[in-house]
Amino acid sequence: MEWEVVIGLEIHAQLATRSKIFSAAPTAYGAEPNTQACAVDLGLPGVLPVLNASVVSMAAKFGLATHSTVARRSVFARKNYFYPDLPKGYQISQFELPIVHGGYLDIDMQDGETRRIGITRAHLEEDAGKSLHEDFQDETGIDLNRAGTPLLEIVSEPDMRSAAEAVAYMKKIHALVRYLEICDGNMQEGSFRCDANVSIRPKGQQAFGTRAEIKNINSFRFVERAINYEVERQIEVIEGGGEVVQETRLYDADRDETRSMRSKEEANDYRYFPDPDLLPVELDQAFIDEIEKALPELPDAKRERFVQIYDLPRADATALTGSRELADYFERTVAATGGEGKLCANWVMGELSGVLNKEGRDISESPVSPELLGGMLQRISDGTISGKIAKQVFEAMWSGEGDADTIIEKKGLRQITDSGAIEKIIRDVLEANPKQVEQYRGGQEKLLGFFVGQVMKISQGKANPGEVNKILKQILSG
């Protein structure tokens, strides 16, 4: 039987506010346990939540950037359940009336196809605290620093048909929230994580199969692996004559498998009801218009512009607009070269990304600024150095030896373009290799490469390759 995979994602993006969603306590990561939790976060008797207005603008930005409706009226609701790291015994979330609903996002697949993924809704909620089981014998520690951290939960339609599509969608949302500057996207610190709803059905069947929800996946790689594992598991269950049960599962990255956490029967009745401590959030059109006006250029628009203005292949433009920082770096590099789009794209995506990856650094931490890189690329395009020599210059810039011109001067890397000097080297080479000259003239034209190589070797790579070719051919045919 051929199976079709159906995936929907719930992404939790931590909103980049300074203070919590309902209190003035800071949201900074990594502090000593319980030092960033005030009376409101601790859920002391008598305290009341007050909405941090900046989360509303952030959610509205997201809604506008995903073709969604930003609700003129949305309502906070209480999701009631008991857990030690949930101080109030309920989580303040949004239920019936979320702030954002009914949008979509287009994702580009590697085969060049575009798929449209529906966004059901995005709602605001507070994060819970953390239970610490490792450090205490027979006891559980509770750290409430994270309690009350603002989250935007982004719920997709079950529109994805493979793990690869799920990853592409998640990456696109990740890029988007960082473009919008509403989430730092830091997955290690839990600022961006997802739950995946996975089911399978015989290809061609309309009705959905029973789904399992895989909780709290915090990397792109794990999303792919968790979904693939889960799909295999479900196929095995069904083909073995069993039934998939609706349940919550946990992905164990160490063992690369998903495990059951709780079944539908054990699921809580959350007893949602509108939170009487908070007023409905009412937005007027003018507010929404203001947010829309202030939106930055979004990835899709930026990609189209890169194709148009810099004359880049679509794949290059897609890669370069994958993050706002990368796109900004690229554009600054282009500006420094005076408009060498393709050359800059090659270097940014090639040499620069390569070494950043190797050293595990973010583009914002590159020791070579766009201005330095652009300065060097200008020396390629004006013929001062060759592309090959440029790699040496780039390495020197990377290790902080100054700008390209300084390095070229200091190391004497200037390209030899003087045809007299090049001709002299060529004549020396030909003189030293009479046999090969004879063979070449006898028709073995591929020996041209051998002569070029010898010339470059003697010139230490500085001879202008175009000139070398031209003069070499002249002399050999003479």
Binding site: A39, L42, G43, L44, P45, G46, V47, L48, P49, V50, L51, R78, N80, F82, P84, P87, K88, G89, Y90, I142, D269, R271, Y272, F273, P276, D277, L278, L279
Partner: protein
């Protein structure tokens, strides 16, 4: 001293006739002498009170004073008070020392009022007789076999016996007005949103509202002035200027239109209580008011709707009492579930558990639409009744409670009869309107309360009407015997 108004006490303090320390000591003495009979105070903070009184005396000398500087008061034990046990009448919070001040607590402190201690109350404000308190029932000073009403029973009994000139209360379904009526004193529940709920331990968030209990409307006006106002820490508090209540107290009532809802004078109302209320209405006519019969057709739905909404909200509000971070925790829990089950099972009393169960049921999947949502729709109908009525009248009047104070234990086994003692007060909370109770007669030696209901933010009008009545009546000056 016991019959002096707050203005008179304040004048005495300013003139140096007596100091705040002396005044405070005299009320501490009365609490120590009489409260063993009444059980109205859970925590007496006598030494902190004397310190505060001395500070008030210094402030009085400097001239930087408010109408409450140096005036003692008792504080319902539902308001968080920094460094003082705040029990909410529950074993659950018997060990809870609040690490912060409620906004009301802070405002009274800033005004220079001197807190004598924290008053007894029904557990988590759930009750109409003050019998659900972990600290035992409060006795009605007019007849110690009888209840003072609830949930602000401790505050009402204490003020009635003049153990303090003023006390705070909270009113979710009549909890200021009903005990005020049963104890023969004056109490006002302001418009929802007029007084901050921050730091006031929540029972039913959409209904809870704090207000003063006093011996007169004039005194209540002074205390409400200090309590009221917008608070950015309470999203449901309303950003609207507070009227100067004292300024309009003496306004003429000529032309005032009073509405008498026929539903408040029907079956279930004690005939003598009804007669006392009618006599008070007659007095208003003499003061120049016009009286009109009106109807609030959805009155009978108020109690059922309330007993869905309030338990639903409390079932969620009380979830934080889980034995994890503060308050009561059972001995040696064997696992997490055991910790929850026994801490809550042992920490809460029966009435609180009953309401948590009712509320949990009402919010459950499959029942939400039939109960909670329906109750909210009923609430809208009740509100609309009042909105309609206030197009024709300025104030609605009627009895505060269907009868006078009932006997201790009489209704403990019959929650429905107990709930019906709030039949005239509950609709006001559901609508969010201001309501007031003032003494308007005696039946068999027990006080009768007249309820005044005003339109939104018309506390000043209620206080004015109450004050004018108190100028031509003496019910509010009467004191129970044995507390001289």
């Amino acid at each position: 001293m016991l019959q002096k108004s707050i203005s008179e006490l304040a004048a005495g303090l300013r003139s140096g006739e007596f100091s705040s320390a002396e005044l405070t000591q005299s009320f501490i003495d009365r609490i120590q002498r009489y409260d063993s009979q009444l059980n109205s105070v859970i925590t007496l903070t006598d030494s902190a009170a004397l310190d505060a009184a001395k500070a008030a005396d210094a402030r009085l000398k400097s001239g930087d004073v408010t109408a409450l500087t140096g005036i003692p008061f008792l504080h319902k034990d539902i308001f968080c008070t920094d460094g003082v046990r705040t029990s909410c009448g529950s074993r659950m919070l018997d060990s809870f020392v609040a690490p912060y001040d409620a906004t009301v607590t802070a405002k009274l402190k800033q005004a220079g009022a001197v807190m004598l201690g924290k008053t007894n109350m029904d557990e988590f404000a759930m009750g109409s007789s003050n019998e659900t308190s972990f600290y035992g029932p409060v006795k009605n000073p007019w007849d110690q076999q009888r209840v003072p009403g609830g949930s602000s029973g401790g505050s009402a009994a204490a003020v009635a016996a003049r153990l303090a000139p003023l006390a705070t209360g909270t009113d979710t379904g009549g909890s200021i007005r009903q005990p005020a009526a049963l104890c023969g004193i004056t109490g006002i529940k302001p418009t929802y949103g007029r007084v901050s709920r921050y730091g006031m331990i929540a029972f039913a968030s959409s209904l809870d509202q704090a207000g003063p209990l006093a011996t007169s409307a004039q005194d209540a006006a002074i205390m409400l002035q200090a309590m009221a106002g917008f608070d950015p820490r309470d999203s449901t508090s309303i950003d609207q200027p507070v009227d100067q209540y004292a300024e309009s107290l003496d306004d003429d009532l000529a032309g005032l239109t009073i509405g008498l809802p026929k539903e408040y004078f029907g079956a279930g109302l004690d005939t003598q209580v009804g007669a006392a209320v009618e006599a008070a209405v007659e007095a208003y006519k003499k003061l120049g008011a016009q009286v009109r019969d009106i109807s609030l057709p959805n009155t009978s739905l108020a109690v059922p709707a309330y007993y869905v909404v309030a338990p639903a909200e409390c079932s969620s509000n009380l979830s934080r009492m889980d034995g994890v971070r503060f308050g009561y925790r059972c001995e040696d829990p064997k696992d997490l579930e055991d910790l929850y089950v026994r801490s809550r099972g042992e920490g809460f009393g029966d009435e609180v558990k009953r309401r948590i169960l009712v509320g949990t049921y009402a919010l459950s999947a499959g029942y939400y639409d039939a109960y909670y949502l329906k109750a909210q729709q009923v609430r809208r109908l009740i509100r609309d009744d009042f909105v309609q009525a206030f197009k024709e009248v300025d104030i609605i009047m009627g009895p505060t409670s269907p009868g006078t104070a009932f006997r201790l234990g009489e209704r403990c086994d019959d929650p429905v009869t107990m709930y019906l003692s709030d039949i005239y007060t509950i609709a006001v909370n559901l609508a969010g309107l201001p309501g007031m109770s003032i003494p308007a007669g005696m039946v068999d030696g027990l006080p009768v309360g007249l309820q005044l209901i005003g339109n939104y933010f018309e506390e000043a009008r209620l206080l004015n009407a109450a004050h004018r009545y108190q100028q031509v009546s003496d019910w509010h000056t009467r004191m129970p015997a044995g507390f001289e």
